[in-house]
């Protein structure tokens, strides 16, 4: 069980990396949209309850499973599930393949959206966006629409493609430097800048005349709406999305923890940082400002969705204020820093799969994942109007993450949580160095290993029982309400058509064909898993010697080693 994988350079590094992954468009755009469409102040109460009883416990679970993966030199769920079942259940690794689907599906569209932010930051800094704002909100909508539909060109090449290529290369360059020199360093630079930019915007918004009306919409509590199950479901879904749960990211990042590195405190700190960005920055900037401008139309405004609010409403709102160009630039710069730390975190589990299961070198891993990601992104770039991004977001960014989260909670509570830690050490499932109290189970022994802040015992029933039940109820209720109509396409008019590369297709036919493409990807992933775990295959061998191992620094140091 000797660990020959990379490790984080410092505790602060891993905390900022996980927080950087979590703090993204979900905090600054999705959260305000959810709040605005679910009763404003009424939404905050179920949100905070879901944060405490679902988000924080599931984050601890995912960190622990990630550490468990790291004990065995893996970083993703297929191999880890195989190991959890002591290599006796051949189906376990294929069940684990579901855990890799969210990052694959999400990165196909996330990189493209990240490139919009870079482009709009550029347009803000050069004053182009202020010129558009001066022509009115309709012009702003048209400008954004032309950009994402590839109608804005330079020399015959769509500008959106140029910015996508720049963003794509930047992400891959960061990842090619590895965990410590790439991901950790990028987060240590981006996260403080992001938080400072966010606080600049908060300070500006709070000093606007008449902002009380906007804050009232967001913060005046409305207890009468708490009886609505829809609000509770939306709040739980938001917590899931914003904390990057079930996306294989925390799982993968935690697998790079050093031996005897604290987990409970690091996880809580990353969750709290994400909560700060969401509640204080996300909850203060977007909706209160939009209320000032849109007034009674705020719910209509929110129905424009995450992108409409972020790329049309906000630039327009900022543009109407003094120093509007500067505020627009701060807004998009903040989103860009949030986007890059999230994008690299989505790709890293796929690189880990190549390095740890297929035993590729880092260069080969980055090249392989770059190629797959680039081809997949083309489906989002050219298929945006045909609904490919909606499909990728539903399966990768909504449905599967809850399903994977539920599997993780069940594995933690009812597999590892039922096994004696001492026996696990005797079997080689837990390293001998892990301090185990008499009668302790494998799940909490791994969670508390090297802990600076031990998990209080009264929280154990919440993690073991409340969290899995919460997830099962969430999954069933989501499937029954929003899920089934989307899956069966019952809400699509049979006569609807979509356009792709100049050709017209039936919307229903195209959607099923695209789902077929996603299914092929799923089958190819499982073929790769079968190849890795074949008799004498690479998955059982140690990590490739060609991957340079970083020296292990001082765990307690907050400086880079």
């Amino acid at each position: 069980m000797a660990n020959n994988r990379e490790n984080w350079g410092s505790k602060l590094g891993v905390i900022l990396a996980v927080a950087g992954s979590a703090v993204g468009l979900g905090n600054f755009l999705r959260f305000p949209v959810q709040a605005a469409t679910n009763g404003g102040g009424a939404f905050i109460i179920p949100y905070l309850i879901a944060f405490v009883f679902l988000g924080i416990p599931l984050a601890w679970i995912e960190w622990t499973l990630g550490r468990y993966a790291g004990y065995h030199n893996y970083g993703t769920s297929p191999s880890t599930y195989h190991v959890i079942f002591r290599k006796k259940k051949p189906w376990a690794k294929y069940l684990g393949s579901l855990g890799l689907l969210p990052p694959i599906f999400i990165i196909f569209y996330y990189g493209f959206i990240q490139s919009w932010i870079l482009a709009f930051a550029f347009y803000s800094a050069t004053g182009t966006l202020m010129d558009v704002v001066a022509q009115g909100p309709e012009k702003m909508t048209e400008f954004f629409g032309n950009y994402i539909m590839l109608k804005t060109c330079v020399g015959g090449i769509p500008v959106a493609i140029i910015f996508f290529l720049i963003t794509f290369i930047a992400n891959m360059v960061v990842l090619s430097f590895g965990v410590r020199k790439g991901i950790e360093r990028a987060n240590k630079i981006c996260m403080p800048i992001l938080l400072i930019l966010g606080l600049v915007l908060v300070a500006r918004v709070l000093t606007l005349p008449g902002i009380g009306k906007g804050l009232a919409f967001m913060w005046n509590p409305d207890f009468s709406q708490l009886a609505s199950p829809k609000i509770w479901m939306a709040a739980a879904g938001q917590v899931f999305f914003t904390m990057s749960l079930g996306m294989a990211i925390i799982f993968c990042y935690a697998s790079y923890l050093k031996p005897k590195e604290d987990l409970v405190l690091s996880s809580l700190t990353a969750s709290a940082t994400n909560g700060f960005a969401e509640v204080i920055i996300g909850g203060t900037v977007v909706i209160p400002m939009a209320v000032l401008v849109a007034g009674a139309n705020i719910e209509e405004c929110a129905k424009l969705g995450t992108f409409g609010l972020g790329f049309q409403t906000m630039p327009y709102v900022f543009g109407t204020l003094p120093f509007g160009g500067f505020l627009q630039t701060v807004w998009f710069a903040m989103l860009f820093f949030a986007g890059i730390t999230s994008a690299i975190s989505i790709i890293q589990p796929l690189i880990s799969f190549c390095e740890d299961d297929l035993k590729f070198t880092r260069k080969k891993s980055v090249t392989t994942i770059s190629t797959i990601t680039f081809i997949g992104s083309l489906t989002a770039i050219f298929g945006l109007a045909a609904g490919t991004v909606d499909e990728l977001d539903f399966w990768g960014g909504t449905y599967l993450i809850v399903f994977v989260g539920m599997i993780q909670a069940i594995l933690f509570s009812f597999v590892l949580g039922r096994r004696n830690a001492k026996e696990a050490q005797a079997n080689g499932d837990l390293p001998a160095e892990v301090n185990v109290e008499l009668g302790e189970n494998e799940a909490f022994a791994a969670m508390n290993d090297g802990s600076q802040l031990k998990l209080p015992r009264f929280l154990r029933p919440i993690i073991m029982y409340v969290c899995p039940i919460y997830l099962i109820v969430l999954l069933i209720s989501f499937t029954a309400t929003d899920g089934l109509p989307f899956i069966t396409l019952s809400n699509v008019n049979p006569n609807d058509t979509v356009q792709l590369l100049g050709h017209t297709f039936s919307k229903i036919g195209f959607t099923w064909a695209f789902r077929g493409f996603l299914l092929v990807l799923f089958l190819l992933l499982n073929l790769a898993i079968a190849y890795a775990w074949r008799k004498g295959g690479p998955a059982e061998k140690g990590r490739s010697k060609k991957i340079k191992k970083m020296e292990i620094g001082n765990s307690d140091s907050t400086e880079e080693a």
Binding site: K11, L12, I15, G41, I44, L48, G212, K213, L215, A216, F217, M218, W219, N220, P221, L265, S266, L268, T269, A272, T273, G275, F276, V279, I280, V291, G295, A296, I298, Q452, L453, D556, T558
Partner: protein, 35 residues
């Protein structure tokens, strides 16, 4: 939509901000504290 920011709203916002800021302060204090 034209509701004024009520005392309850201010209290709710301040409590939520205080709770999340307090949690952050507690966590980062522990992280930076030498063993």
């Amino acid at each position: 939509m034209n509701a004024e920011f009520t005392t309850g709203g201010i209290a709710f916002m301040v409590c939520a901000w205080g709770a999340i800021t307090g949690l952050c302060a507690f966590c980062f204090y522990k992280v930076f504290k030498k063993k």
